[in-house]
Every structure is written in structure tokens, then in C-alpha cells.
């Protein structure tokens, strides 16, 4: 069944530290008043312009195999390809903050208000991620009762475009999930409009299936350490 989820704005307002961190500001750094004012302005704009909504649909391993394969352009092997066959259950998801916030970011840049544009962009990215995180937690709650020992289960989301899962897989993901229902469309180049949208799969299974050595072909040129942080967090959970 496809679920459409409306978010409570209070749940997705980005944390101020995260917004600053997204722009390279070191946590705890002393900021000038004008930078604090920019941050508060971005938070206010976020609250007035973001229209967060999500869609989620459970998918079988068999169906996901085809969705994952996409247009046949994935790296081989990839972490996701090794993980999903061992899953217990999974769901496709997409979330968006809507078009208004992206339009506002563009307006700021066109008016040479770069700092305002960048601050709002950083906030919107954090907010979209937060919405995806909430979807993941909702799925966790939904499936918890299916497991005798849910503490042993790891629930993690993965997105096309990352870790060797080619972005062209968006086409089949969209075909199955139908995020058009919440206003997300796919460009010919497999990118989403509105820009501040996140899509992917939430995979639930024994925690150890999400642990991998980062020596896949896709890891070779990747400096992003978030997978390592995520695996460590899962171990500690």
C-alpha cells in the first residue's frame, strides 16, 4: 500500500548547527551578528516556504531486484546489491520540500544575495534529509512488531546516485512508487524536481547485513565518509 505522509513542520526544521556545518562553519565557532541574522532569516524562510510531504510503499525483494537493476548501469559489485537480497523487508520512499523553497533560493542568487541563498540552501538540504530520516523512523515503527528481536534489526536508507547505484534506477523507482502523487517529477536525466527532494529505499534486516568493507569500485574515488559513520552508529545502537 502506498502511504502519503504529511510532516509536522516542527519535526523537520533544520538544526542551526547543521545548517552552519553544511557551509563549513566549525561547530562552536564565534559568529558575527550578521551571520546569526542570516541564519535566523533562513530558518524563517524555511518555515514559511517548505511544504514537506512524503510517499512510501513497501516492496518485495523480487520487485526491488528489478528496480535496483534500473537501466543496467550500476557498478558491479555495489554495497546495495550485496545488502538487499539479505533483507527481511524494505520500502521505497520519496520526500520533497516542494518548489517554493527552491524558487526562493534561486531568487536570492539572482539578486546577488549569495549568503542568503546559500544559507537557505543549506537549511533546505538539512530539512529534506530530516524528512527522509523521519520516513525511515516511521517505517521502523511500522515493521517493529513483525520481529521477535527488533534490537537486532538495522534499518538503513540508500539512494540512487550514491555508492555505485546508478541514478538511472530512479526511472523504475518512480514507476513503482509514483512520487508524482506528491509533486515530484523526474527529468530525462533522472534528476528530481523540485530539487530539494530525496528518494531511495529503506532496507530492514539483521544489523550485520549493513556492514561492509569500503573497498568496492565506487569507494575508490569517494572521499565521503558518511557510510563509515553510519555503520559505526548502527554498531553502537
Amino acid at each position: 500500500m502506498t502511504e502519503i505522509i504529511k510532516f509536522d513542520m516542527n519535526d523537520i526544521i533544520p538544526g542551526r548547527e547543521e545548517v552552519l556545518r553544511n557551509q563549513g562553519v566549525i561547530p562552536g565557532a564565534v559568529l558575527e551578528d550578521k551571520i546569526r541574522d542570516l541564519l535566523e532569516q533562513a530558518i524563517r524562510e524555511f518555515q514559511s516556504l517548505a511544504e514537506p510531504v512524503g510517499v512510501m510503499k513497501e516492496v518485495s525483494i523480487g520487485d526491488f531486484k528489478d528496480i535496483y537493476k534500473g537501466e543496467g548501469r550500476n557498478d558491479e559489485p555495489t554495497p546495495v546489491a550485496d545488502i538487499f537480497p539479505k533483507a527481511d523487508c524494505m520500502a521505497l520512499f520519496a520526500v520533497t520540500l516542494g518548489q517554493k523553497i527552491s524558487d526562493k533560493i534561486d531568487q536570492h542568487f539572482k539578486a546577488n544575495n549569495f549568503a542568503e541563498g546559500c544559507m537557505l540552501d543549506a537549511g533546505a538540504s538539512a530539512g529534506a534529509d530530516q524528512a527522509a530520516e523521519i520516513m525511515q523512523r516511521m517505517y521502523e515503527q511500522e515493521i517493529a512488531e513483525r520481529f521477535d528481536d527488533f534490537d537486532a534489526i538495522g534499518v538503513v536508507r540508500y539512494s540512487p546516485g550514491y555508492c555505485g547505484w546508478h541514478i538511472s534506477a530512479q526511472k523504475k523507482l518512480f514507476g513503482f512508487l509514483g512520487p508524482e502523487k506528491i509533486g515530484i517529477t523526474l527529468r530525462e536525466t533522472y534528476l528530481m524536481d523540485p530539487l530539494k527532494s530525496v528518494s531511495g529505499v529503506i532496507i530492514a534486516g539483521p544489523k550485520e547485513i549493513h556492514q561492509f568493507e569500503n573497498n568496492y569500485p565506487c569507494c575508490e574515488n569517494c572521499d565521503d565518509q558518511t557510510c563509515l559513520e553510519r555503520m559505526q552508529a548502527l554498531k553502537n545502537a
Binding site: L20, Q23, G24, V25, I26, A29, L31, E32, K34, I35, L38, R73, F109, N112, N113, F114, A115, G117, C118, M119, D121, P160, G161, Y162, C163, G164, W165, H166, I167, R187, T189, Y190, L191, M192, L195, C218, N221, C222, D223, D224
Partner: protein, 212 residues
């Protein structure tokens, strides 16, 4: 205080209104446009760049300074065109095909303009054809490519291969950036340089046009 120094200091503070007012005043006082640019605006941005490089200020402050730079540039650009004053170089930039993430590329463009470059921004989702055609048409000194996705960064190689087949590889510098990209990847695909942020891109390209 010398008006050019005031322009520089106001720019460093991100006071775009004051920079515009002082630049107008400098123009009225018949200070050569090139001098206003070099000793006022660019001098101020150079200080901002150094402060950023040494982590004494952060991106939002750089962007406020950039807006102030643009406020001054808007006033002197018509005069630069009138007097045939060249920019320090021309750079074609864009986010690679299949990638919509252009905030990083925008920042690079802002900083390059702030440093006195002419920037031809092709936007996002740019095909190899468009990169190469723009580089040829604009007689660019450099092409700058950005990617945020690990699955789109490989498209940078396609641009370089097309540059080779069009005979402009080696004549036009190729600089790449973006979260998943690094120096090793740049070497692998035959890019001349990798820049981890906008200020580094400015530093590299300034050296390049100086040596040219």
C-alpha cells in the same frame, strides 16, 4: 583614508551599500577604473580569500563580501567594456550531465568573478557537447566542471575525451571539483587540476593565467 582602501575594507565587512557608494565616488573622482578594480575591489576580495583559507572567517562572510564585490563591479563593468579593459581570464563552468546540484558550482563562479575572471556559467545538467562548444566559442582559458554524485562524476571524463577529439585539450585548462571528486580522480581522467573549494579554484586559475 584613501578611498580605494575604504572600498577594500567595506568589501571585507560585506557592506555592499557602502562599497557601491564609494565606488561611485571613486568613478566621479576620475580614479582609473583598473585601479578601482585592482586596488579596491580585488584587493578586498584577496584579503577575504586569505582569511577564509586560514579559517578565520567562514563561507557566509565570504558570500557577503562577494555581494559587495558585485555591487562595485556592476558600476565599473560598463566602464571596463568602454575602455576595453580585459578581465584576468575567462572560465566556462557547469555541473556535469545528470547532476542538478549546482550550489558548489555557483559558489565557484561567484568567487571567480570576485577575483576578476569572466565566468560563463552553463548551469547544471550540462552535456559534454555544451561544455566543449562553449569553451571554443568563448575562447575560454579554462573549463570548470562540478559533480556531487559518484555516479555522475564519470561524465567529466567524457568532456575531456571530447576536448581531445576537438583538439582543444591541453590548450584550455580543465579544473574539476565537487564532493566525490579528488586529486587522484582528476589525474585519472586527465584533468589539469582539482579544487576542493571556490577559493582554491581561484588560486589555481590565477596561477594559470599568470603563467599563460
Amino acid at each position: 583614508m584613501d578611498i580605494l582602501k575604504q572600498i577594500s575594507e567595506s568589501l571585507q565587512k560585506g557592506d555592499h551599500e557602502k562599497v557601491a557608494m564609494l565606488t561611485s565616488q571613486a568613478i566621479e573622482e576620475k580614479i582609473p577604473v583598473k585601479k578601482i578594480l585592482d586596488e579596491g575591489l580585488i584587493a578586498g576580495m584577496n584579503v577575504v580569500g586569505e582569511e577564509f583559507k586560514h579559517h578565520r572567517i567562514f563561507l557566509p562572510s565570504v558570500l557577503l563580501a562577494a555581494r559587495a564585490m558585485y555591487a562595485g563591479m556592476d558600476l565599473i563593468k560598463p566602464l571596463m567594456i568602454r575602455d576595453n579593459i580585459p578581465t584576468i581570464g575567462k572560465v566556462v563552468i557547469g555541473t556535469i550531465k545528470g547532476d542538478l546540484h549546482d550550489i558548489g558550482k555557483n559558489l565557484v563562479g561567484i568567487m571567480l568573478k570576485g577575483a576578476g575572471f569572466e565566468v560563463i556559467d552553463l548551469g547544471n545538467d550540462v552535456t559534454p557537447d555544451r561544455f566543449v562548444q562553449a569553451a571554443k566559442d568563448e575562447k575560454a582559458d579554462a573549463v570548470g566542471m562540478s559533480a556531487l554524485l559518484t555516479t555522475t562524476m564519470t561524465g567529466m571524463k567524457d568532456v575531456i575525451e571530447l576536448m581531445k577529439s576537438e583538439g582543444i585539450y591541453g590548450k584550455i585548462k580543465v579544473i574539476i571539483g565537487g564532493a566525490p571528486v579528488n586529486r587522484e580522480f582528476a589525474e585519472q581522467i586527465g584533468a589539469d587540476s582539482y579544487a576542493y573549494d571556490g577559493m582554491k579554484a581561484v588560486e589555481i586559475l590565477k596561477e594559470y593565467v599568470k603563467d599563460k
